[in-house]
């Protein structure tokens, strides 16, 4: 009884606050709202922009959202990207010193939402972010399923740019599906799938291959692309298996795949499944001579921790960032800062993509922000979107970033195939055994 009353009271007070607010408006209030703020330089731009401008008053922060998978089974993926964004904010002033920098003379306020790694999570989170009139852009989502047809559409309807560090599903930037307000620094699965198939067929000389994907849309799509390219090159797929990512016991499955002794086994999954497949495959006689290839989802230290010696000689496909790692920024500055912030090595491979995504966004804001002269700025939404999509030749951690017409910013992707133990997550100076650069046009 007591509690119910308290709830009722809270509601009542809320209502009173509304009334109070209404009175304040009637009385003029005496404070200036930014919506009525004067714009000098940017008036024309803002009026021309169908979605108008975001007005950031003097001393107010720029609001940028994140929509990443920060809870549940995939928290390792989303939190990793979120740390990338936080580090980018920190680095705006040119140093990882724990003091956040500024964009166009304003602080950055991050608003973090959870995409739940699901369509409904993406919808709920995007709706919340989109309701904020100050929301300029969103870094997200972690999972393609949260963006596709859900978050991308909701944010596009409000003229809010969505830039994903880790969506790799081809559909997001496909003709007719792309919303126009979506960009990503993650590589399209089409490229990774194709390069792995090239490596397997041309480099290893494999003619038969099997795939194992888990129930994530990411794995499903990547495995499908691999199979298609491999078959189109003349190879044979001996098995296209699927697993649940929560499974731990893959022996029977591997034994059944081993019946055909394929030349290559490709498993674009996440850990621990990747590691367990690798480890258990070592005990399957039929897979003795089979080359094991994991994808970037596997590329974190727990892969080798779990798989142990069995991982030796296994291949991992992931973005080839060696060229930039030699520039030492990633090794000497970024990673130490990451460990300082998180207390751990990166848990996934997309923190760098998130860092770059934030930076191309920050650059675009700097470009289009209109200084009103009184410390306030106006940021036209459409112009911001166009500026992001016009990014060209930006040197990020992940490579040169040039966005194409449908929002794929990792257009020329260099995927490296690394061989354990010579992998970036163990040895930052690791060199790939095979590296290929493909553009989206080339893979069709």
């Amino acid at each position: 009884m007591r509690k119910r009353t308290r709830f009722a009271l809270v509601a009542l007070v809320g209502a009173l606050a509304l009334v109070g607010a209404a009175c304040a408006e009637g009385g003029g209030g005496g404070q200036t709202g930014p919506t009525g703020g004067t714009t000098t330089g940017g008036a024309a731009d803002c009026e021309a922009d169908p979605f108008g401008c975001v007005e950031v008053g003097a001393g107010e922060p720029i609001t940028i959202g994140t929509l990443l998978a920060i809870s549940g089974a995939v928290a390792f993926l989303g939190l990793d990207s979120q740390y990338g964004v936080e580090l980018a904010v920190d680095y705006l002033d040119g140093a990882f010193d724990g003091n956040p920098g500024q964009i166009a003379g304003h602080d950055v306020q991050l608003v973090n939402e959870d995409d739940g790694c699901s369509a409904e999570g993406g919808q709920a989170g995007a709706t919340k972010l989109a309701a904020d009139p100050q929301m300029l852009a969103v870094i997200g989502t972690s999972c393609s399923s949260a963006a596709l047809g859900v978050a991308d559409q909701i944010l596009a309807d409000k003229g809010i740019m969505l830039i994903s560090p880790s969506n790799t599903n081809p559909n997001l930037t496909a003709e007719g599906v792309w919303t126009g307000w979506y960009a990503r620094t993650a590589h399209n699965d089409k490229i990774q799938g194709a390069i792995v198939a090239n490596f397997a067929y041309d480099e290893l000389g494999a003619r038969t291959a099997a795939t194992i994907n888990d129930e994530s849309p990411y794995a499903d799509a990547l495995a499908a692309v691999f199979r298609q390219v491999f078959e189109s090159k003349g190879g044979t797929i001996t098995a296209a298996e699927a697993i649940q990512s929560s499974d731990t016991d893959f022996k029977p499955l591997l034994t059944s795949i081993g019946q055909q002794s394929p030349d290559v086994l490709y498993f674009p999954d996440f850990n621990p499944a990747c590691a367990l497949i690798t480890k258990q495959a070592a005990d399957v006689p039929g897979l003795k001579d089979t080359a094991l290839i994991g994808s970037d989802g596997c590329a974190d230290p727990s892969y080798t921790d779990t798989a142990g010696d069995a991982a030796d000689g296994a291949y991992i496909s992931q973005p080839d960032t060696s060229a930039f790692q030699q520039g030492d920024f990633y090794q000497n500055e970024f990673l130490p800062a990451y460990e300082e912030l998180v207390g751990k090595d990166p848990t996934a491979a997309f923190h760098a993509h998130a860092f770059d995504a934030f930076n191309i966004l920050a650059r675009a804001i700097e470009q289009v922000a209109i200084d009103n002269g009184d410390g306030s700025i106006s940021i036209p939404r459409t112009a911001l979107k166009d500026a992001v999509l016009a990014t060209s030749g930006y040197q990020g951690i992940i490579g040169t970033i040039t966005c194409n017409a449908t929002g794929d910013c990792a257009t020329e992707v260099t995927i490296g195939i690394y061989q354990v133990p010579d992998v970036p997550f163990l040895d930052p100076k690791a060199k790939p055994v095979f590296s290929q650069t493909l553009s989206l046009e080339e893979v069709g």
């Binding site: 209030g29 404070q31 919808q123 081809p170 298609q228």
Partner: protein, 592 residues
């Protein structure tokens, strides 16, 4: 004196443990950033202040000593509180000392949250020794405050508590309320600062004063009414008031999207979908008494059925394609089919397992849900279900040229069906069918012997529950526009069950409230970010312990409860009488 301070010591140690927990789990640092009032009051600081204050508050709680309730006096309260608070600080300091001694970099590989930032937070940037001193002294001060606070007369304390709670709540809702005000075209800069996004000091003070005053008024009135003899003619007044309340509720529900904007509409859309599910489950578990752990299966069936019947596309790595089997029906026509499918599947699943006792039925239903999800994901059915990537482009339920695309519009669609489902549930409850279910829940064998065909009624329960659940699934598909197996994991079944039990098994208003609490609250409090589920879990435990019968128990159980109270009263009377007698005897003995 040592004995007297014992509750303080105990509460202090528990409070200290809580403080250490909050630090280790990472909340203290993570929550630092969000500013609640001005730039001084942050979520993290509030969290830091809370343990000593709460510890002493509990340490000073009234105790039953020798059958009498004893409230410590102000002096004792102060001492007890200070001890408790200082202990909380001391435990924190010990932790801090340990961290200093071992070194952050050596602890961090184990406890990831022990970071320089945490040390910085706990030492207030002033070094370990000063930090420890601040923790202990500050803790003692806060504890003393907490103790005194508890000693203040209830009538004064309560309203202020309500006021403070209101301020914190409004501050936590900083990403919702300001936008609501914006959408209502109300001035909000006096209340919420644009720079910090939290409440302004002016706003906080105004809210505190207004809320406190309002609470004082309401509490006072209620107390007075409770003391006054029941006035005549009140039943009519009640009836009138009830009508008014219902009218207000209806108007509010109808105007909600206009008043509260898209976030609240979105959340209410989710609440609505889950409410449908919960109402379906309520029939199976609440009315008919069969524990169902896999209700999300109906959710899945409804969603996939509507997607396939209304021409959704499969998502593949190479673009969108049509599923192997699909139809392109009108949504409302499809809905009839979906409901029929839900009912049929419900009955079919029930048929073979009718003889199973409660917990076995539970595991079978759980298995049923697992099977449904795995099949939807499987490569085997991928040509139909789309496998992991699912289906998209689900219909937006066009009705007379109107599409339910936006959160605000969808709210009305789901509201309509919820009202329908509530009506159906309510009608069923007070009918011959509902009576039969009830009898079955009470005692299955006796119900059978009294002429209730229990097998048929079990199937009927499953069928109707399944139909309503599938309806929920269909609306979910419309809402999200995409159907993926990941949306129908076991956790959804558990959430729905939690809604029903939390609200009160078998009670329709309870289920509605349960859905609001369990689904709207986490949505509203997205400030909790990655700690959402941690706090959600804790709240779930707390609510069930405090109100095991559910938020609004159903009428029948309410009776049971009153009875308990009556027996308790009786016990108290007996107890009091015995005490009196004993006291008299003692007095008699003492007399020469």
């Amino acid at each position: 004196m040592r004995g007297a301070l014992r509750p303080g010591a105990r509460a202090g140690l528990v409070g200290g443990a809580v403080l250490v927990y909050l630090a280790l789990v990472g909340m203290l640092v993570k929550f630092e950033e969000l500013r609640l009032v001005g730039s001084q009051v942050t979520r993290g600081r509030l969290l830091l202040v809370l343990p000593p204050f709460a510890a002493s508050f509990f340490a000073v709680r009234p105790r039953v000593i020798g059958g009498r309730v004893e409230q410590p006096g102000p002096g004792v309260a102060l001492a007890l509180g200070a001890v408790a608070g200082a202990l909380v600080g001391a435990v924190g300091s010990v932790g801090l000392a340990l961290v200093e001694a071992i070194g952050v970099e050596r602890i961090r590989p184990v406890f990831v949250a022990v970071s320089p930032a945490l040390v910085e937070t706990l030492t207030f940037g002033r070094g370990a020794a000063a930090g420890a001193a601040i923790l202990v002294v500050g803790g003692a001060a806060l504890g003393a405050a907490g103790g005194i606070w508890r000693a203040i007369r209830h009538g004064l304390r309560r309203p202020v508590e309500v006021g403070l709670l209101t301020v914190v709540t409004l501050a936590m809702l900083q990403r919702i309320v300001p936008f609501m005000l914006d959408e209502l075209r109300l001035e909000r800069d006096w209340l919420y600062s644009r720079a910090t996004r939290g409440l302004t000091w002016t706003g906080a003070v105004v809210v505190l004063v207004v809320a406190t005053a309002a609470a004082a008024y309401v509490l006072d009135r209620r107390e007075r009414r409770a003391l006054a003899p029941a006035a005549e003619g009140r039943p009519e007044v009640r009836g009138w008031r009830r009508t008014a309340l219902v009218t207000i509720a209806v108007v509010l529900a109808a105007a909600l999207p206009q008043l509260a904007g898209s976030i609240v509409s979105e959340i209410m859309g989710t609440v609505g979908v889950f409410l449908l599910l919960a109402l379906g489950l309520n029939i199976v578990t609440g009315y008919a008494g069969m524990l169902h752990l896999g209700f999300s299966a109906f959710f899945l069936i409804g969603a996939y059925a509507v997607a396939l019947l209304t021409g959704a596309n499969l998502v593949t790595a190479f673009g969108l394609v049509a599923p192997r089997f699909s139809a392109d029906l009108n949504f409302y026509l499809a809905l009839v089919l979906v409901v029929a499918i839900g009912a049929a599947v419900g009955a079919l699943v029930a048929a073979p397992v009718l003889r199973l006792r409660g917990d076995y039925l539970a595991i079978v239903t759980l298995a049923f849900a697992q099977i449904a999800v795995i099949l939807a994901t499987s490569s085997w059915l991928q040509p139909i279900t789309g496998g992991p990537q699912g289906l998209r482009d689900v219909t937006k339920a066009p009705l007379l040229g109107l599409e339910f695309r936006s959160a605000e519009r969808f709210y009305y669609l789901v509201l309509a069906f919820c009202v329908l489902a509530v009506f159906v549930s309510w009608r069923l409850a007070w009918s011959r069918v509902g009576r039969a279910w009830n009898a079955m829940r009470e005692d299955e064998q006796v119900a059978d012997a009294m002429g209730v065909p229990t097998g048929r009624y079990k199937m009927l329960g499953f069928a109707i529950g399944g139909a309503i659940g599938a309806l929920g699934g269909a609306l979910f598909a419309v809402k999200v526009g995409t159907v993926q197996p990941g949306s129908f994991e076991i956790i959804q079944s558990i959430t729905v069950l939690a809604v029903v039990i939390l609200g009160g098994l078998g009670s329709v208003p309870g289920v509605v409230l349960g859905a609001l609490v369990l689904l709207a609250l986490p949505g509203l409090l997205s400030q909790l970010e990655e700690f959402r589920f941690l706090i959600y879990g804790a709240v779930l435990v707390a609510i069930m312990i405090l109100r095991p019968q559910g938020l609004i128990p159903n009428v029948r159980r309410m009776r049971e409860l009153r009875e308990e109270e009556r027996t308790q009263d009786a016990w108290q009377q007996i107890f009091a009488a015995r005490q009196e007698r004993e006291a008299a005897e003692e007095a008699a003995e003492a007399a020469p």
